[in-house]
Amino acid sequence: MAIDAATVRKVAHLARIKTPEDRLETLAGELNGILNWIEQLDEVDVQFVEPMTSNVHQPLRLRDDVVTDGGKLDCVLSNAPKSADGFFVVPKVVE
């Protein structure tokens, strides 16, 4: 299942990482190396095996749907690249 430059372009977009055109071939080579190595998993018989999503042998805890915390506007905004009047400010990106 060889990955080509077009596939890398598509996946990089899915990952939301801008990738310059001249990097695509190199990345395709690296990803192919990793995926070829990963393909040895095809040797394993996994028929009738349930996917394992967690190591935790206990039911997921639920809590009451109530506010336990809050009033931390300054904390929430403290690492914003830009903020004003209690809001995140994002750059204007529409025409």
Binding site: I3, T7, V8, V11, A12, H13, L14, A15, R16, I17, K18, T19, L27, E30, L31, G33, I34, L35, W37, I38, Q40, L41, E43, V44, V46, V49, E50, P51, M52, T53, S54, N55, V56, H57, Q58, L60, R61, R63, K72, D74, C75, V76, S78, N79, A80, P81, K82, F88, V90, P91, V93
Partner: protein, 492 residues
Amino acid sequence: MSDLTQLTLKAAVDGLKAKKFSSAEITQAFLSNIEASNGTLNAYTEVTADKALKMARASDARLAAGEGGALEGAPLGIKDLFCTDGVRTTAGSNMLRDFTPPYESTVTANLWRDGAVMLGKLNMDEFAMGSSNETSAFGPVKNPWKSKASNAELTPGGSSGGSASAVAADLCLAATASDTGGSIRQPAAFTGTVGIKPTYGRASRYGMVAFASSLDQAGPITKTVEDAALLLRSMCSFDMKDSTSLDVETPDWTASVGESVKGLRIGVPREYVVDGMPAEIQALWDQGVEWLKAAGCEIVDISLPHTKYALPTYYIVAPAEASSNLARYDGMRFGHRATEARSLTDLYETSRAEGFGKEVQRRLTIGAYVLSAGFYDAYYVKALKVRRRIAQDFDNVWGQVDAILTPSTPSAAFALGDKQIDPVQMYLNDVFTVTTNLAGLPGISVPAGMDANGLPLGLQVIGKALDEATVFQVAAALEDAAGFAAKPDKWW
């Protein structure tokens, strides 16, 4: 004064309680060591000297009043992926270069509750993705050890390379670390220190910068097995803020250190012999078996047939989880934001391209690929099924054995730059450690010997889920038999 920095954590805590020295004294001794050494070793990304001395004076006041917690006055280093309230936390990334959390991780909160003093934040591979610390945006950490055969600078391993290097070079009494595929145990093995990853769910992940949530687990890197038991106990707790946190008691593991291992059954998995493994690693492993036999253990040959599939499984599961976890870094609410963008998507893409380093980008791309339509079942679901096979391998042997002995790493520390060209070669470093992350089991690395060039090598003990007690018991027996007391020659 300098000998204070060579104390074990246990000896320091005892000395502080007995008022042989003050926390301010030992803290100052470490700060002086850091000041003199960090320019070369690059173990700390941030030294919090003022905060450390303030915490130390508060500890001294408590000690003077006959009070104080289990770690009262002990200066520690903190891996830079534990959020520390008001202290910059970068996870080794440019993405978080200016991030100062307004909250504290549960693990570090537990340490301050027990009286520990924070010296600063320790360097690491970017978002814990790496086995050599070369992916850090703050530059590689150097291993205090050097080979007798060459003057080359060596990696301390990764991703907790700053933690391992700082402990080995006496830049802290002990350090916090985290382990997703071997990131505690591999650097411990490379630096002649002890590192344990506990059972998944023992330590809260709240406030730890996430890499792969189903695998990440916090643990300590220390000078001795007893220190590891002492520090791990403080780090672990049940935490409502982490839905995967286990509601179980945290035992006093120091009680297991020194307990006889007579009659314990130790498994030796035949599949842990890998192609091209140096003869020295096999010899060390054989030696470990002999030590445990001499201590009265019964050695049992066991089979973990899916071992060879653990690393490829990991390199699907971990990037998939990372691509989901790291989606939060989009330049909007925190983290790096690109200054020039023509559209919303362009802003995301440019911010992430600028903020993430090469290895992180590579793994996020793999993660997006294995989760994408058309490949989700073939790669991701398949890997989750193999993961269950790997976990079942362990379940199948616990009836026959109480713990498992393996080498920690397939080699001693390698030179910086040595394995950067081929990502797969780099990934193979975690071949012995990654299985326990996939299965959620505790694993410890203990320094057990040297290679021909005088570099430390580690042995790993793997235990049943929640049975850290036996892991510490066996690890202490190995430590006792090995008598590893060597320190690196000071060149830095």
